[in-house]
Amino acid sequence: MSKQLELLQGTLDLLILKAVSLGPLHGYGILLRIQQISKDRLEIQQGSLYPALYRLEDQGWIASEWGESENKRKAKYYRLTAAGRRQLQAEAEQWNRMAEMIAGILQTKPEEI
């Protein structure tokens, strides 16, 4: 297992939106999904997940309802709303542009200047 990376500021929201875009999930499930997709390379403070969820719901990007979990318990499931889908798309594009630009800057060699 490679060394865990600390989450970049502001990226938790993006990751949550991505995670729930693949299907409704409860809070713990979102955590597991992110770890799974990132192959355990991201370190997320578990408690910090929930304020982010509440904020996203407050902004109307995700919606929640109570359902039954895989171990037959009541759990709160989050799903992406239409607004959330647009937001995810916009944020993903922005992130990609930013990443490309940063990568481009970092690959610059002295003779190219």
């Binding site: 713990y28 578990q46 408690g47 929930y50 304020p51 982010a52 407050d58 902004q59 709160k76 607004a83």
Partner: protein
Amino acid sequence: MRVAVRIRSWAGALLRRRHMEREMDAELRFHIESYAEDLIRGGVPREEALRRARVEFGGLEQTKEQCRDARGITLVNSLLQDARYGLRMLGKSPGLTAIVVITLGLGIGVNSSIFSVVNAWLLRPLPIPHPEQIVDVASATGNSRLSYLDMLDLKAQADVFSDVFGYDTGSGGLSADGKPGQFAYSAVTGNYFSALGVKPALGRLFVPGEGEQRGSPLNLVLGYAFWQKRFAGDPAVIGKHIAVDGRPATIIGVAPRDFHGLLFAFDMDGYLPLSITALGEDGNSLWGDRGDRSLMLFARMKPGLSLAQAQGSVDVVAKRLAAQYPTADRGLEFLVIPERRARPAPRVSSFVPVIATLFLMLPGLVLLLACMNVANILLARAAAREREMAIRAAIGAGRRRLIRQMLTEGLLVALLGGAAGVVLGELAIAAAGALLRPVTTSSAGYAFRIDCQFDWKVFAYTLLAAVLTGIFVGLWPALRAGRADLNALLHESGRGEQGNRHRLRSSLVVAQVAGSLMLLVVAGLLVRSLSHAEHMFLGFDPEHVVSVMLDPHQVGYNQARTKNFYRELERRVRNLPGVNSASLARTVPMAYPSQGSSIFVKGRQLPPDQKPPEISYNGVDPGYFPTMRVPLLRGRSFTDSDSETAPWVAIVNQTMAGRLWPNEDVLGKRFSLKSASGPWIEVVGVAADGQYWFISSDPQPYFYVPLAQDYGSLASVQARTAGPPEAMLPVVQREIQRLAPDMPIMQAATMQETVHGLAGLFIFQLAASLAGILGAMGLLLAVVGTYGVVSFSAVQRTHEIGVRMALGATRGDILKLISRQGLMLVAGGVLAGVLAAFGLTRAMSKVLMGVSPSDPVTYVAVVVLLAAVSFAACWIPARRSTRVDPMVALRYE
């Protein structure tokens, strides 16, 4: 769209707060348990798995708080919670809460009652449409009044005004249904009511132009209160025939209940046409003489115009008139003053603003002291609650949340204090009203009315004061709570105050002592000033003198009959048993009315831009000087030969002599009341200075002319009595009735009563007693504050005292130890207070009679009093701490 979603989320969350809390709990518990189960499945033992799940999750309470924050409901939610918690804390210590609320209630109550007076005086608009358009148009000289012709010129030429109107005040006899009586009225121009926009409560009001010529029918509009009082609110009074000053008149209407006329602080009994003031021989001068300046003029400005535009417009008119009528209107200047700023008179004497400012500042100081006291109490309590705060912080309450908690508690007590303040303030106003009534009803026959009801402005002011107070008293403990160092606090044994908090509370004590010293100095100076004013030489001797004011004009006497009446009356009064001497005078000092005139000195040319000086005078008969015991310093007194046909003479006072003829022999000098070319009045004597129209610390110029050479129907008769003057008053009045049975008596009082009346010592007594009450409150607050700090610190040091006593310290040592600290604070406060008081009282010199603002007697007395009382406040707790049993003290806590 997003906004709508958020509002729904916020509102939903707020409404289902409890529900949301439960859901949040369930959700987080599910997370932790699911994680623990996964760990168990991975082979971790159950206990260890649960522990690790909780640790890795992080602070549960902090997470919850952040979730609430994310939902945006934290503020309201926690405010409610804080308020509920705060109320519980207050309920837990009802005694302390009561002290805090009463302290703040007193502080706020004093402020709201003073403010309600200021509100009634300066802020409340007239009860008419667009009161902001009404302006007072005053002359820049004399008594501010203008002539009827000035009014017509302004109406015609100043296009900034939609209407210009005026009135004069008067009082007269009103007999209806065979009952004589007195009433105070405004003689108004016909457009008075229409320009103000006043609608009748009953009948009709005057119409523009009505009553503006000689011999107009006397129509009377009743004031609402007078209608209720005199006619029992009978609607059948409309059309009723009555007599005003013996002349037939008709009641045509009743003014609305909330309209009291334009004379500030008085309620008009009725309104008569202006023609009532133009009845006598000189009755034509009102309509045709530019120099007959007897009207108070007002105007309604056209909508949307500024004051500067109005002033500019009347300036042009004044210049034009001055050029057109160089004799009468020389140097004429109009001032346009918004009606509210023209109270009580357009150009008031200079000390009114000083007194007003002073009496707005002093209650502010009392409130500040009350705040400091309460802040002190709350700080002491905060010290006791420091552990609670630390624990709350430890289990996840944010710093801001703790600060907010303390602020909420401060606001809670302040709002309770504000409510108490409103109640106390209302009581104070009612008490003050009862106190004022005897003084105010005896003067001049006008019904005194200052409407100090609490309206929304007073409530707004009180609320603002309460909120500021709450922030003030809550802030310090709040900042302390915010800074609380968790570790240190939880480890500390709980004994011994931390240094900087102690410094904070100590500086509060210093400020309190200083503030109360300032209050006491102001009170002391005003009391000394009152006592000085009471004992100073008034220019006459008010003991054993009665004065009764009459106006035979009111029952229709003409000039000859009036003169005969007075001559006969004086003769009869002089011959009454128990009367040593009697006299007649136009007026007596400190009684309504006063008269004054421009003075032109013979042989002295005034520069064209300079106005002649304005000097008050009195018409008196030869008996006046011995009866009132006015000392004549030089020259001769008046005699019976100074008749109306004899050469005109005058007796001037020292100040007038010194001002008009410095370094010259004043006897034989001549001056005129009419013009720079005579007719001349010769100075034949010099009288001692005294107090005249109102009590003033500056010497006023004044002169006397023989009553015979200054005819007027309004005059008063004085009698110097051998026995108590009160007993003589009814005797004199009976004599008047015997001579003229239907003659109304306008005013009957002993000179002592008059001297203590509105124009006399009353204002000094009022100021002194108000300042005295505020000073006493300040002293009480300072004592409580000092006592609180010293006794709290003594309790905190119980353990230390025990140790010291066990090691052999005597009671005297302990007494010294504990009281020294308090006395140092008191000394610091006294020093700071003396310095501040020097600054504050400098502004008071105008309102002090015969006392310097830095009067050493006052300062020494106040310092000694404050020091003695504060010493007791230190000594009592200090002594109590010496009675501590060392063994008990060592086992303490």
